[in-house]
Symmetry: C2
Subunit: 197 residues, 2 copies
């Protein structure tokens, strides 16, 4: 991929529409911060669990630095990277942020979330969700599965507006990525429509 | 979409590779059976939670007939439909199987799973996973989230072989679907490769 992604026109997403942002299984970047430390990692394993209130589940390995920051702060961010960030996703997903600041290392810009202050990416991304951790110690321990409630969300209006995705050739830089494994990402860039029922 | 999907050459998938089948967030068909009753529904909300042993989480609303069958039988199937089944996915996801057999209603062929006997679709699908429910009453109740361990899996070797997805123009009938909402499915049909790290 070429070029440095820039941020598009992000607009707030209504909370009742927030789960739609991750309905189709995109690979995401998970952001976290506590005190003076922050981190960003990649996660292919997340899903909504409820529309209202908007809640999601995400797998964050207990050995990761992100997990420590999320539990300590009670918050995490989810950002949906486009194709221009494929190298970054793979790089931040293969490295630990314990000894370095991955934002600085990979030249990633972030803004603080409006409610919880988690770092959020917009450049090269289609959307973000700011989430409050819902403590569920048993499933966190047994399955590395963390539940969160979305407290704020926003999307680039070129691809998600009025609660709906609009995927077409003109917004290819914002199409979501879906990790097949080994750094290969399927791009969700073509749409088929089912017959109405 | 046109034509009646036919089953391709399905081959067993090693259990340590099974979670890779749903790593990229496809919308799936969830199958279930208990006694003489069976059902199939659509689910956009599922994810792996572990590679070894292969475990997944899936949201199945407690009000659904599927949930009753899954809890009663302790088993469920996950099938990955291709574009030719878009209409079927949307139809079975919009109807209940309490009063009718959706397999018969929508002319869906199924074979019994090798370990637990759950009905599994192959025609028009790229892969299936047969899962044993792991009882977690609290998260089932609070988040409609059901955990399962994969006990058998298979895939059409034209798109998944030796533990790896191979997505290209020649197997477009097997590309996975990712529900954007309202019957619109993004097709995971184009691949970008990240720079090795």
């Amino acid at each position: 991929m070429s070029g440095v992604p820039v941020a598009g026109p992000f607009r707030p997403v209504l909370l009742e529409h927030a789960s739609r942002l991750v309905n189709h299984g995109p690979t995401v970047l998970v952001t976290s911060a506590h005190g003076t430390r922050r981190n960003v990692m990649a996660a292919a394993w997340s899903m909504p669990v409820e529309f209202t209130p908007p809640r999601i589940a995400i797998v964050i390995d207990k050995r990761t630095w992100t997990r420590e920051l999320v539990v300590a702060s009670g918050a995490f961010g989810i950002c949906l990277p486009g194709p221009g960030l494929a190298d970054v996703i793979y790089a931040v997903g293969s490295d630990t942020g314990r000894e370095l600041d991955k934002f600085a290392r990979f030249d990633i810009s972030a803004r603080p979330g409006p409610v919880l202050g988690v770092p959020l990416l917009e450049a090269g991304c289609s959307a973000w969700l700011e989430c409050r951790l819902i403590r569920e110690p048993h499933v966190e321990d047994a399955y590395d599965t963390c539940f969160g409630e979305v407290v704020a969300a926003a999307a680039d209006e070129r691809i998600f507006a009025n609660g709906r995705w609009s995927v077409h050739d003109d917004n290819a830089d914002l199409h979501t990525l879906h990790h097949l494994g080994a750094g290969n990402f399927a791009v969700a860039g073509h749409v088929v429509k089912a017959r109405p029922v």
